[in-house]
């Protein structure tokens, strides 16, 4: 286990203050992420209000079971990342690294399911704005549903990819024993980020698939 002292940057009095700073910084960053998505949630609310029946009809075109599957996948991945943090605190670094790899794997599953869904939409013409050409539902507002759908899930997907990048970096570090014991803040804040990505999906799923 690495000595805690070597991780304290020169401008921090001790490791505790430094970890506190990292956590506070991550919380603030998560706030910015929430507000980034807030813009899209606002658009969703507005257009749902303007086109209630079109949104209802269009949301039937996306497969609830696929969304539910992905919800389970992401929630499980939140559990594995939390466990990684837990074992890292006990300095069981290899186990922590493995759990991070499992989390990344679940990220791939999520993206895979999403890709299948997207492929289906492209095929059927469930597309945003002027690209929409699905003959089965020709009402004003249906293209707007898919605009909002693709923007929200697309932005979320980008976040999943970024999160997987971060987790990869953490997994390598954990495998090499860079964290452990007192010094687990990187895994903690990385995990916080992953939880947020999960949490946003938990809001997207009912809004887009269920109601």
């Amino acid at each position: 286990m690495p000595a805690a002292g070597s991780h304290v940057a020169h401008h921090f009095p001790d490791l505790e203050v430094q970890s506190h700073a990292a956590r506070l910084g991550m919380w603030l960053f998560l706030a910015t992420e929430v507000l980034l998505f807030a813009g899209l949630f606002t658009a969703y609310a507005l257009y749902r209000m303007l086109y209630p029946s079109a949104f209802l009809g269009a949301s039937k075109l996306i497969e609830t079971s696929m969304g539910a599957l992905n919800t389970v996948v992401l929630i499980t991945s939140s559990l594995t990342v939390a466990l990684a943090f837990h074992y890292s605190r006990q300095s069981r670094n290899r186990l922590a690294a493995l759990l991070l790899v499992v989390t990344i794997g679940l990220g791939f599953v999520f993206l895979g399911v999403k890709a299948v869904e997207y492929a289906h939409h492209f095929h059927e013409g469930h597309l945003p704005g002027r690209f929409y050409h699905y003959a089965g539902l020709q009402v004003p507002g249906a293209p707007m549903f898919f605009t909002v759908y693709f923007l929200m899930t697309g932005l979320h997907g980008i976040h999943v990819v970024i999160g997987m990048g971060v987790l990869t970096w953490l997994a390598v570090g954990a495998w090499r024993g860079a964290y452990g014991g007192d010094y687990t803040t990187p895994i903690e804040v990385g995990g916080m980020y992953w939880h947020l990505v999960d949490l946003i999906w938990i809001f997207l799923f009912p809004l887009l698939y269920l109601i």
Binding site: H11, G25, L46, Y51, P128, P143, T147
Partner: protein, 552 residues
């Protein structure tokens, strides 16, 4: 008229300190690489100084082109399209490359750690990243400017911005990246303030500039992401045509206006709050009195930041907003006036019976107070729905925000620059040329923008390259004023740059200020302090110099 240092007694702590610290943060490491990879908050502040000043001059160049075009009623030097592009570039450069990053980026980075007795900001690497985000954002925007520029105005209103053939998307993307830099700075400052205050500096003993930065950072963190997503949506719309803001495809352009102003109104407080904070410091130092009403000044910054989030609708009075909404937004906007007035009264009370030393920075303070008062009062007037219907999209609005942005933010910026220059570079500039520059700026500014109030009130709309002949005389006055203003900036630039070579060494505390940031040498050493200072008194505490003159 060179300053007589005797009239400002140096603070006692200075005794025995060298006049100029030979080995300091500027030369402790050498070579361009040491600058490009630096993690030192002071050097990052200096880099921001260079970059944002360059932006200020670029934006100023565009402004002069605009004013020259408006010298005659018809076409003067450019076509209508070039005019539209020029005012867009002027606005984008000034707002995103100067107004928002300048004071936090330069003086926040340089002085926040010094003011709270810290060795650096909490995340030095992120701090360096913010500089690179600034550079990248500027480069992307510049790419768009060279390849045709945008003609939408800095407000990018849809559906025009999504259908115009000019190159809007790089400018939108550039502003997005600049926004990320702004978020990083704000986040860094909040965490720094929470975690790195030296022993003895509780929250209620922080210098008031730090309080202002704190309030600003909250806005940067909470508002900027909304601008980010909005600009991305416009860019996506512009490139792919998804229809999100396009009425032809069922989209709602007013949604764009809401989302845009949800950021851009709070953003005006990102621009003015740091200036208010800097003014508080300078004012106290030259009045040689403790800031009157420390808590009121500190909390009014937070109050402005908070209320600023609920006033964006005053930009939509004529966009089909309901009367009830308009009334609510109007009243909420006026609350900002209350918090601003709290500051103005406290500043005035600080000046009252102070032993005022009229130096260059102080002239900017006086200018600031005057401009802020006018700009703020016209803001209140504009927030009155019935009046705004008359003034919306006229030069009255242009004059209003230039009074606050140029008169307020730039005066605050220059006050800060001339006040802190000796600490940053260890040299004194010529007081005579400093005063000449400040006076030119004050006069030129008034001649530029007072006519614009009159023009707007008479009905001259903004963003047109030609106008009826009856507006001619006032436009000539405005262009003449702008020339004087530009000259003032050049004088300031020259006098500061010359001071680097010919200036006298400043000493640790040439103004005899009690601000915490003066407790180190000039220029500061690489690690900020040779020995950790102690903080037995409040910042800006001059009570021992003013026996019997209350000042709390």
């Amino acid at each position: 008229m060179s300053p007589s240092p005797a009239s400002i007694p140096p603070a006692p702590a200075d005794a025995g300190a060298p006049l100029y610290l030979e080995r300091n943060y500027l030369n402790a490491r050498r070579g361009p690489w040491s600058w490009l990879t630096t993690l030192d908050h002071k050097r990052i502040g200096v880099m921001y100084l260079v970059l944002t000043s360059a932006a200020l001059f670029l934006g100023g160049l565009f402004a002069m082109l605009l004013r020259i075009e408006l010298l005659t009623p018809g076409p003067t030097i450019m076509s209508a399209l070039s005019y539209n592009r020029t005012f867009t570039l002027h606005g984008v450069v000034m707002i995103f490359l100067f107004m928002i990053p300048a004071i936090p980026g330069i003086f926040g980075n340089f002085f926040l750690p010094l003011m709270i007795g810290a060795r650096d900001v909490a995340f030095p690497r992120l701090n360096l990243l913010s500089v690179y985000l600034y550079l990248a954002g500027a480069a992307i925007a510049l790419y768009g400017m060279v390849h045709g520029g945008a003609d939408t105005g800095w407000t990018f209103y849809t559906p025009y911005s999504t259908t115009t053939v000019t190159m809007v998307w790089p400018i939108l993307l550039g502003a997005f990246v600049l926004g990320m830099g702004s978020i990083v700075t704000g986040l860094n400052f909040i965490v720094t303030i929470h975690t790195l205050r030296a022993p003895g500096i509780g929250f209620m003993r922080m210098p008031l500039f730090v309080w202002a930065l704190y309030a600003t950072s909250i806005i940067q963190v909470l508002a900027t992401p909304v601008l980010g997503i909005t600009l991305l949506l416009v860019a996506v719309e512009n490139v792919f045509g998804f229809g999100i803001f396009d009425p032809a495809r069922g989209g709602d352009p007013v949604l764009f206006q809401h989302m845009f102003w949800f950021y851009s109104h709070p953003a005006v407080y990102i621009m003015i709050l740091p200036a208010m904070g800097a003014i508080t410091e300078v004012l106290s130092a030259f009045a040689r009195k403790n800031t009157f009403g420390y808590k009121a000044v500190a909390f009014s910054s937070l109050g402005i930041a908070f209320v600023g989030f609920f006033t964006w609708g005053h930009h939509l009075f004529t966009s089909g907003q309901s009367t009830v909404d308009a009334g609510i937004f109007g009243v909420l906007s006026m609350f900002v006036g209350i918090f601003t007035a709290i500051k103005i009264f406290n500043w005035t009370a600080t000046l009252y019976r102070g032993s005022i030393a009229v130096r260059t920075p102080f002239i900017y303070v006086i200018a600031f107070l005057f401009f802020l008062l006018f700009g703020g009062m016209t803001g209140i007037a504009l927030a009155t729905v019935a009046l705004d219907v008359h003034w919306q999209d006229t030069y009255f609005v242009v004059a209003h925000f230039h009074f606050i942005m140029v008169g307020g933010t730039i005066a605050g910026f220059l006050a800060a620059l001339t006040y802190w220059w000796p600490k940053m570079f260890g040299k004194r500039y010529s007081e005579r040329w400093g005063i000449v520059g400040a006076t030119l700026i004050f006069l030129g500014f008034n001649f530029t923008f007072i006519p614009q109030f009159l023009l707007g009130n008479e009905g001259m709309p903004r963003r047109y390259y030609s106008y009826p002949e009856r507006f001619w005389p006032l436009n000539v006055a405005s262009t003449a004023g702008a020339s004087v203003l530009a000259l003032g900036f050049l004088v300031v630039l020259a006098s500061l740059l010359l001071s680097l070579k010919y200036g006298k060494p400043a000493g640790p505390n040439p103004w005899g200020s009690r601000g915490y940031e003066w407790k180190t040498l000039s220029p500061p050493p690489e690690g900020n302090f040779l020995t950790q200072p102690t903080y037995p008194r409040m910042p800006h505490d001059y009570d021992d110099l003013n026996p019997g003159r209350g000042g709390h």
